[in-house]
């Protein structure tokens, strides 16, 4: 098997142009999902009537269906939905002029919300209830208690899981090519289709994703070390008491 190295190198740099799209989908999904997922988690922990049931059903549905299918459904439904809305409000926008990355933002935000809410829910529950009680007992409001005491501690516990979710999100965006979004996978595939150099293209894609995900893992490792400095993470067998 011969690899066209020149093609690989050329395509590599071509595909890099798709990295901003990949990262922007990841970033937008995370930024939108974070506050929403937090409130979803709170609604389940505190058993908020109706909201809790809705959230549980939503999370179940998202996690029970393949991302591919979510993409296909959204990409088929949303444009015609937008068309109807635009027609009724009388705006002069052509639905097909909408940048397809918007659809990617929507699908991956919906998807990330669900996973992130479960991560937040479990992380919040790892924090000892006594921390909240102590904060309330010295006169802090629940909001103050959460933002200053509970969430910082929950965050440290959540970091490995959030890292996992982020990496999976980055890899998941490779499916956005189905919505004609010009991200890494789609660019490489298109370049490959000219001369049928699919193997080289796939290897390029692999390399780019490995680099991206390794950087993310490094960032999260640093974050975990910094945020968790108050903990005695290195357990000592001989206790200093």
């Amino acid at each position: 098997m011969e690899l066209d190295i020149k093609f690989m190198v050329d395509t590599f740099f071509l595909a890099l142009a798709g990295v901003p799209a990949t990262l922007s989908i990841t970033g937008v999904a995370l930024i939108i999902s974070t506050p929403v997922a937090f409130f979803m988690a709170i609604s389940r922990i505190y058993d908020v009537k109706i909201v809790k049931q809705a959230v549980t059903a939503y999370v179940s549905f998202i996690r029970g269906t393949p991302v591919v299918l979510q993409i296909l459904i959204i990409y088929s439904l949303l444009p015609s939905l937008f068309n109807t809305i635009i027609k009724s409000t009388g705006w002069n926008i052509n639905v097909f002029d909408i940048n397809p990355i918007i659809y990617a933002y929507i699908v991956f935000s919906l998807n990330t919300c669900a996973g992130l809410s479960e991560i937040f829910r479990s992380a919040l529950q790892t924090v000892n209830k006594g921390q909240l009680e102590a904060a309330l007992s010295i006169g802090m409001s629940p909001v103050q208690a959460y933002t200053r005491i509970i969430i910082p501690q929950a965050l440290v516990t959540a970091i490995p899981n959030i890292c996992n979710l982020t990496i999976n999100l980055i890899k998941g965006t490779s499916l956005a090519f189905m919505m004609t979004v010009k991200e890494v996978t789609s660019i490489a595939k298109i370049a490959a289709s000219y001369g049928y150099n699919y193997i080289e293209a796939y290897l390029d894609i692999l390399i780019i994703y490995i680099i991206l995900c390794s950087l993310v893992q490094l960032l999260f490792a640093l974050a975990e070390k910094h945020l968790g400095s108050y903990k005695n993470i290195r357990g000592t067998l001989v206790n200093a008491g």
């Binding site: 006169g139 005491i149 108050y230």
Partner: protein, 250 residues
């Protein structure tokens, strides 16, 4: 100063408090004794609404609340007049000892940072931990953590400090250092309500003993009366089990 009237509390079909009345005067050191399940911890937690009683009234100086209809504002006002010391310390794990003490001052009471730091340092030195100001709770022993918790409580200058079995999680040596701090506070006239099994503390420091069992107050009075001449049978039974035999003849 503080009065609890006719407090009832049920947890899941289990009636834990069946009409309890307590009066606290300024400067009192009240010790609540009783077997497990008697409701003494629940009663303490009802005072600052860590548990919400089902029925009854709480009078705190000029503040009179019905526990069922108490508003968040009322609860907040009560919490600002009290401080709580927990059995398992509950120090804020992500804050240093000094930050633990300043947190309530700066965040809850909006006291300027410089003033709060001064108050906090004074409180920590009072409990003998000035040299551990910048240590995180994970690096402190149990006794040290509890003393920081006490510093956190006294720094906010509450009308009454509530202690929920403050030494139950400590070994005898560490227990001593915490009890010493509590004795010092009592000598300075700080009002305290203490749930404890430390009989020596109850005997030597308290000025009023409340004995509870099965959700009601069985007997209450001055320590020397309760320990030497208990009137109720249940009290005698409890004390005979828990006091060393040669200490008192019941």
């Amino acid at each position: 100063m503080l009065e609890l009237i006719n407090i009832y509390k049920t947890f899941n079909n289990n009636q834990v408090l069946k009409g309890v009345n307590i009066k606290v005067k300024k400067g009192d050191v009240i010790v609540i004794l009783g077997p497990s399940g008697s409701g003494k911890t629940t009663l303490l937690r009802c005072i600052n609404f860590l548990e919400r009683a089902d029925k009854g009234e709480i009078i705190f100086d000029d503040l009179r609340v019905n526990v069922k209809t108490a508003s968040p504002g009322d609860i907040s006002r009560i919490r600002k007049k009290t401080a709580f010391v927990f059995q398992n310390f509950n120090l804020f794990n992500n804050k240093t000892a000094l930050e633990n003490v300043t947190e309530g001052l700066i965040v809850a009471r909006k006291i300027p940072k410089s003033e709060a730091l001064e108050t906090a340092k004074r409180a920590l030195s009072k409990v003998g931990l000035s040299d551990r100001e910048n240590y995180y709770p994970s690096k402190l022993s149990g006794g040290q953590q509890q003393r920081v918790a006490i510093a956190r409580a006294i720094a906010v200058n509450p009308d009454v400090i509530l202690f929920d079995e403050p030494t139950s999680a400590l070994d005898p040596e560490l227990t001593g250092e915490v009890l010493a701090v509590m004795k010092q506070l009592a000598r300075e006239g700080i009002t305290m309500v203490v749930v404890t099994h430390e009989m020596s503390f109850a005997r030597d420091v308290a000025n009023h003993i409340v004995f509870m069992d099965a959700g009601i107050v069985i007997e209450e009075g001055r320590p020397d009366m309760i320990f030497t001449k208990p009137r109720e049978e249940r009290t005698k039974q409890f004390l005979s089990r828990i006091l060393p035999f040669d200490d008192y003849v019941i």
